[in-house]
């Protein structure tokens, strides 16, 4: 196999010396990518633990647990979780998962590590800015976690932090916890915008010779599109956060209406609009869904092509579909607010635009299947996760069509149907793309393979777990089961229709799902040190530039030189080619064919 890369000497970076410079305060995009991934893993397991507490509270509301009393003397006196504590862990679960896992790992983690290598650059455009963005993100996470340990505990207003509950010191979630939540999110916004700036400039200005935009791997397109969304969306959330913080601490009244009575006391504010927060929040919140999923879409396209041994079906359509999703994502926020009393005309407009996102989403799904169609599929674990992603994306996407219609949403709004829907499409799909990415790139990042049988076991347990957890939630939603309630065992119309049994099943499935994640974690840690060694630069026989350099990549990626790119990212199974893949830097065999032909 040809592994030669044509280089030109341009600039050589010197490798930092010492543990601290190398692994802690590093400006190397690869180390920063790993730092983001470690943060995301810690956050994911924290969020998962909180979700387990929620499941326990829902199924055994009165049962006492000594460890809970030790850990949370206020939230769980006598070992029984209070309803307020349930809301607090619900809020923290959502916030941690959305911001610290779904936003950091696919973009900050994999994007940082692989975007520069895939476009043939030695690093991000602004390495120090990159480091700053990571440390701000970590500060944001620590600030958020601090909310658990302050007077009044963590906030209970949900990850959407709707006022007036979130805006009033007098509300039940009194204390500094909500303030910490807002400050944490504000820091996160700044970090995300700095990171987005870096991604955009890197993609546009740091591509190596021959790496035309339409030759970039779809992963790069995913990260780039996500960065554009992040740049434009996080500023709006930051503005909302500042206003909310002022309402809580400086006696302004942006979101607090007049005549509000809390605990028999009239609140001395007037004129504010709680709906204003919803508009600001969801103007960010809906694009956030795509911030979580678009990098995943890129990774999945990349993995499907590699393991189907076929070019991505409709590469350009995939790129334009990502752009369409990103653009439409900014004009559909109203579908989160159908029950807010908005004009039916606005609702119809938001509904039509929401349905329109189905078109690029369907194009992508069609093209993923088209990529696999007729391919010589290699069912290694990255491919399994990628196929799982497509399955979950379809399941979660179709339920979105129900919720996008105002008439149906009137019924489904704030029920478990919504919980099932967004967990599948936003949470599980994105997480499966992370598994696909991690198992795919693990040999490149660490020079070793993960254990394949354990990965496959993890895949099947996870697929059973996620459908077992989030599938029945749709049924709960159709029964009219509201979300965010700590205890609903006494509600007759639900109990008569078997909601308790469904909850019990979901909790068991959740336990299996969480067990599977510990299997993955153990596999990950074990493989770091004792996994099978990856035999060469390019064990998957892939085409993009990261596979042209040693595993793990050297400090300067291309050793201070520049690769020359000669082709698109997915030249698999080219007719007339001697082997079934041509790497992006390899000479074009097609143009080396005899230029003359006998036509007599």
């Amino acid at each position: 196999m040809s592994q030669t890369v044509e280089y030109t000497e341009v600039e050589r970076h010197t490798e930092p010396k010492g543990f601290v410079n190398h692994w802690i305060f590093s400006t190397d995009h690869k180390v920063i990518g790993i730092q983001y991934l470690i943060l995301a893993v810690v956050a994911a397991f924290t969020g998962m633990a909180l979700s387990m507490l929620m499941r326990i509270r829902l199924v055994w509301p009165d049962r006492s647990y000594a460890f809970l009393e030790t850990l949370f003397p206020v939230g769980a006196p006598d070992g029984v979780m209070t309803p307020e504590f349930y809301l607090a862990i619900l809020t923290m679960h959502g916030t941690i998962m959305v911001f610290m896992v779904l936003t950091t790992a696919p973009q900050g983690g994999f994007g940082n590590y692989f975007l520069p290598i895939q476009i043939g650059a030695p690093d991000m455009a602004f390495p120090r800015l990159n480091m700053l963005a990571f440390w701000l993100t970590l500060l944001s996470f620590l600030t958020l976690m601090a909310a658990f340990f302050v007077q009044g505990g963590a906030p209970g207003s949900g990850w959407t932090a709707y006022p007036p509950l979130s805006a009033l010191q007098e509300a039940t979630t009194a204390g500094i916890g909500q303030d910490l939540w807002i400050v944490s999110i504000a820091i996160f916004c700044i970090a995300a915008m700095l990171s987005a700036l870096n991604f955009i400039v890197t993609t546009l200005e740091m591509r190596t010779e021959g790496m035309a935009l339409m030759r970039m791997p779809l992963t790069v397109w995913g990260w780039f599109t996500t960065a554009v969304i992040g740049l434009l969306a996080f500023g709006v959330l930051l503005a909302g956060g500042i206003l909310l913080l002022m309402d809580r601490n400086l006696d302004t009244s942006f979101f607090i209406p007049g005549g509000l009575v809390v605990s028999d006391r009239l609140i001395d504010r007037e004129g504010g609009s709680p709906l204003l927060w919803q508009h600001l929040f969801w103007f960010f919140g809906h694009p956030e869904v795509y911030i979580a999923i678009l990098p995943g879409m890129g990774i999945i396209s990349h993995v499907l092509a590699t393991f189907s041994r076929k070019p991505v079906f409709g590469y350009r359509a995939m790129v334009y579909a990502m752009m369409a999703i990103a653009g439409l994502g900014f004009v559909v926020w109203g579908h989160h607010m159908f029950v807010s009393g908005m004009s039916p005309y606005s609702a119809v407009a938001f509904s039509v635009l929401t349905m329109a996102i189905g078109v690029p989403s369907a194009i992508k799904t069609f093209n993923w299947i088209g990529t696999m169609w007729g391919g010589r599929l290699r069912l290694d674990s990255p491919m399994l996760y990628a196929i799982g992603f497509v399955s979950i994306f379809v399941a979660g996407g179709i339920t979105g069509l129900f919720l996008g219609q105002p008439a149906l949403d009137m019924y489904f709004h704030d029920t478990y149907f919504v919980v099932g829907h967004f967990h599948l499409i936003m949470g599980v799909a994105a997480v499966l793309s992370m598994f696909a990415g991690l198992t795919f790139w693990f040999p490149k990042m660490f020079g070793r393979f993960m254990n394949e049988p354990l990965n496959k076991l993890h895949f099947w347990l996870t697929m059973f777990g996620v459908y077992g957890v989030f599938g029945p939630m749709h049924f709960l939603g159709t029964l009219g089961h509201p979300r965010r309630y700590a205890d609903i065992t006494g509600v007759n119309y639900l109990a008569e229709r078997g909601s308790a049994e469904l909850h019990y099943f979901i909790t068991i499935a959740a336990m299996i799902l969480i067990t599977a994640q510990f299997i993955f974690l153990a596999n990950l840690l074990w493989s770091l040190f004792a996994g099978k060694k990856a035999p060469e630069n390019n064990p998957w026989e892939a085409t993009s530039l990261e596979w042209a350099i040693p595993s793990p990549p050297p400090y300067d990626n291309f050793a201070g030189r520049v690769p020359v790119v000669r082709r698109g990212a997915y030249d698999y199974s080219l007719p007339g080619s001697a082997k079934d893949f041509l790497m992006q830097h390899e000479p074009d065999e097609m143009t080396q064919e005899p230029a003359t032909r006998d036509v007599r």
Binding site: L231, M246, E270
Partner: protein, 220 residues
């Protein structure tokens, strides 16, 4: 008979990529631009693009606050706030500072980075004077009894001017760095890139202030 067909296909028959020239001489290859290669790091382009992109993020922040202000101004408790006269002084200071920075830029282009240090220092001082004038505006409004509580238009005034002022202070920090760096007799290969990008940011802050002022005049 042998007929020559497509000695170098203009477009490749297979593959997913677009145009990519293989004809660039090795000495001019480098990062940036993909299609055209070019030389070196394109620092100037990178810095300027970064500022444009950063300004887009800042614009979204102000757009969000503006839209909140438009929504909130429909409330019955919205009272008009007479803008303090000193704001016109601060506006003048910021406009003049932009002009001075242009002088600095030209001096640097003609005579090297060291020639701009006085002008850049002056720009920074004008920026600081702008912030002081804004604070004087705050004090004038406070003395009129305009506070945050119960006066949403006043709250937006303080919020918008503070948010803009912080961005200007950030710019003053960069200008201070420029002045200090220009004073050191050491080669500074990226001077042009840094100065042009900083100028872009500074003018951007000027334009943003004119927008904020217009918004405050119209709605406040």
């Amino acid at each position: 008979m042998s007929v020559e067909l497509h000695p170098a296909p203009a477009k490749r028959p297979l593959g997913t990529g677009g145009r990519g020239d293989d004809v660039i001489p090795p000495e001019s290859r480098g990062w940036g631009g993909g299609d055209s290669g070019g030389s070196g790091f394109h620092a100037e382009q990178r810095y300027k693009l970064a500022v444009w992109v950063g300004l887009a993020g800042v614009v979204m922040l102000f757009a969000a606050i503006s839209s909140a202000m438009i929504v909130r101004s429909a409330g019955e408790d919205w009272l008009h706030v007479e803008l303090p006269g000193v704001l016109w002084v601060s506006t003048g200071l910021l406009v003049v500072s932009s002009l001075v920075f242009e002088v600095a830029k030209r001096a640097a282009q003609r005579q090297g980075p060291r020639a701009m240090r006085v002008w850049v220092t002056l720009t920074a001082l004008l920026g600081l004077a702008f912030v002081v004038a804004q604070l004087a505006g705050w004090s004038e409004l406070l003395s009129q009894g305009v506070v945050l509580k119960g006066q949403p238009s006043g709250a937006f005034f303080y919020l918008l001017t503070a948010t803009h002022g912080l961005h200007v202070l950030g710019g003053v920090c960069v200008l201070t760095y420029l002045a200090a760096r220009a004073s050191i007799r050491r080669p500074w290969p990226r001077a042009k890139a840094v100065v042009e990008a900083s100028a872009l940011y500074w003018h951007g802050m000027g334009a943003l202030w004119l927008y904020v002022l217009g918004l405050l005049l119209y709605l406040g």
